[in-house]
């Protein structure tokens, strides 16, 4: 079976005056999956979403969304997508009900009023339905915004930082909605600052850095890319060299030292290096061990490792960022 892509972009470029926001974004989101766009501030995530939702026109490159060409058939794309922006994009002068009715009308729904009521109930906004949305709390506005994106079931839903600034209750509600939509077959492209959010929701992650997709894969694949961190805490400073020799041999990567804690650590991508084996090898070498850890990477580590600019000083080749994990692993301990 061939994979159908709900979003497929090749070499998308966009510049604003001096800033090259996107420098060739290649993105492939399989139909019915949730793709998380992760990246530091200014990486180009929001620009990518604005291009893919027809708000911006690309300078170069091409993209198809829900099977339609972004530049040639913008209205066909618009019919197929739902968009929830970083800022609540509903009309503050209108009530929640008026907003949803307006969007339902613009979507040509025959029973606009009924659909509005249904969504108000579903997003727990029925009590506030007749208040101007400018009086809504952040969470309420975001829920209304999401409801407005779901007037008709979109083939592709774009969520630009959907939970930024939300309390845990509102956040969970939005997560539940995303999961339910995925179960119904909607493709979701979300940008987020929260790695936990990507870990929770995304089938695939595209790590965006400097206007390009630097890495992509499942969360597990990305974690495997940077490896686990093996660390030994020893009894005294003199024992650190011995521990380092063992770690060097086991992991094949250069250990780093924390002289205050008498700790030596190294990154490993070897799946056969288990905690018992690590302890046995260190003990066999006569290292006076106080503590040993083998910490699998979190998505935070992936994010920091693969997008952190400081680790890339002097390297301009992306292959170096992957192997970079073996030469310097300070961030992993933080």
């Amino acid at each position: 079976m061939t994979t159908t892509y709900a979003v497929l972009s090749e070499g998308l470029e966009k510049s604003f005056k001096e800033v090259r926001a996107l420098r060739g974004l290649d993105l492939a989101v399989a139909e019915g999956t949730v793709c998380g766009l992760l990246g530091p501030n200014g990486a180009g995530k929001t620009t990518a979403v604005r291009l893919l939702t027809t708000l911006l026109r690309p300078d170069a490159g091409s993209a198809r969304v829900a099977g339609h060409d972004l530049v040639r058939e913008p209205n066909a794309v618009r019919r197929a997508i739902g968009v929830t922006g970083q800022y609540a994009s509903v009309d503050g002068d209108l009530t929640g009900r008026e907003n949803l009715r307006l969007f339902a009308k613009l979507r040509r729904l025959p029973k606009a009023a009924a659909r509005a009521d249904e969504l108000l109930d579903r997003f727990e906004l029925a009590d506030a339905a007749d208040r101007a949305t400018s009086t809504y709390s952040g969470g309420m506005r975001r829920r209304l915004d999401l409801a407005a994106s779901l007037i008709t079931r979109p083939a592709v839903l774009f969520l630009d930082e959907p939970t930024t600034g939300l309390d845990p209750h509102s956040r969970n509600q939005i997560w539940e909605t995303v999961r339910a939509l995925k179960a119904e077959g909607t493709t979701v492209l979300l940008t987020t600052q929260y790695l936990e959010e990507a870990d929770q929701l995304a089938d695939d992650i595209a790590l965006v850095d400097r206007g390009r997709v630097a890495h992509s894969g499942t969360p597990t694949e990305l974690k495997a890319l940077i490896g686990s961190y093996a660390e030994a805490v020893v009894a005294h400073a003199d024992a650190m060299a011995g521990a380092a020799a063992v770690l060097d041999q086991l992991t094949g990567s250069r250990p780093d030292f924390d002289r205050e804690r008498h700790a030596v650590g190294a990154v490993t991508t070897d799946p056969t290096l288990t905690l018992p084996r690590l302890v046995r090898e260190l003990d066999a070498a006569g290292v006076p061990l106080l503590d040993v850890n083998l910490r699998p990477p979190t998505l935070d580590d992936v994010f920091l490792r693969l997008t952190d600019r400081s680790t890339r000083a002097g390297t301009d080749d992306r292959a170096d960022t992957q192997s970079g994990g073996r030469t310097d692993s300070k961030e992993l301990v933080t």
């Binding site: 708000l55 968009v83 994009s89 509903v90 009309d91 503050g92 002068d93 209108l94 613009l106």
Partner: protein, 260 residues
């Protein structure tokens, strides 16, 4: 075209609801011309050579047109407000006619203007202004007034979409109050120095004001002066046609390409 009519109607509904939710502002802007009519009519009216009652009859059409010219300010403010809100992004990601949003705004504004004209006319009647002409001519005057408002609103929408912030739009919009001062809306232009008189008479406000005075039968059409003033109805229609032909497409294009 039917899509534009449908979407435009939905957007008109939005515009009217917004206005209804901001009643205070609406009342403030609608009572403004009445306040000015009373102030100008009695303060200036007692200082000018023209008898007070005659000046007030002269002033009513001028004030109506000056108020219509405020379409620049209103259009600008509303468009600036909209364009700096996320809701515009949502409209732009919907499969709707590109002209629907600004058209809804312009038509909504026209409805408000039409309703707002009634109290000004009533107060005008109370202070001595009369419709001396036929009902048909009076209807023509109101039609011309609304057409002029429609034209100025598009200037405002374009400027509002182009402005950097709501505040900037508010400040620039406030500066438009000088436009009617450079016309025959409040004073006759006969005694102005030559160059100023030319500027004032080529001001679209002058043409429309003269046309209204003519159609309401308040003052005869001047025999000398710039062409738009000596041919006020044709001049007004020409001015409106030019303004709409220039600013409406520019505003729609600006809206469509906003941020792109």
């Amino acid at each position: 075209m039917s899509a534009l009519a449908y979407d435009g109607t939905a957007m008109l509904g939005r515009q009217l609801r917004r206005i209804r939710h901001n009643m205070g502002l609406l009342i403030l802007t609608q009572t403004m011309p009445i306040t000015m009519l009373l102030f100008f009519g009695y303060v200036f009216g007692s200082a000018l050579a023209m008898p007070g009652e005659e000046y007030r009859a002269f002033l009513v059409p001028g004030l109506l047109v000056a108020t219509a010219a405020n379409g620049i300010m209103t259009g600008m403010f509303q468009a600036a407000q909209d364009s700096h809100r996320g809701v515009m992004d949502r409209f732009r990601t919907l499969p709707i006619s590109r002209a629907a949003v600004p058209l809804g705004q312009a038509v909504g504004d026209l409805v408000v203007t039409a309703v707002g004209t009634v109290p000004v006319l009533l107060v005008g009647l109370a202070v001595g202004w009369r419709m001396e002409g036929s009902a048909l001519e009076a209807a023509g005057a109101v039609g011309l007034l609304l057409l002029f408002r429609f034209a100025t609103t598009w200037i405002g929408i374009l400027l509002g979409l182009a402005s950097r912030s709501e505040e900037a739009a508010g400040q620039l919009g406030g500066a438009t109050f000088i436009l009617p001062l450079l016309s025959n809306a409040y004073i006759p232009t006969d005694n102005l120095p030559g160059w100023l008189r030319t500027i004032a008479e080529w001001n679209p406000i002058s043409a429309v004001t003269t046309a209204l005075r003519d159609l309401f039968g308040n003052a005869p059409v001047p025999t000398d002066g710039a062409w738009p003033v000596t041919h006020p109805v044709a001049g007004s229609l020409a001015w409106c046609a030019v303004l709409i032909a220039v600013f409406m497409p520019l505003a729609v294009r600006r809206y469509t390409n906003g941020g792109r």
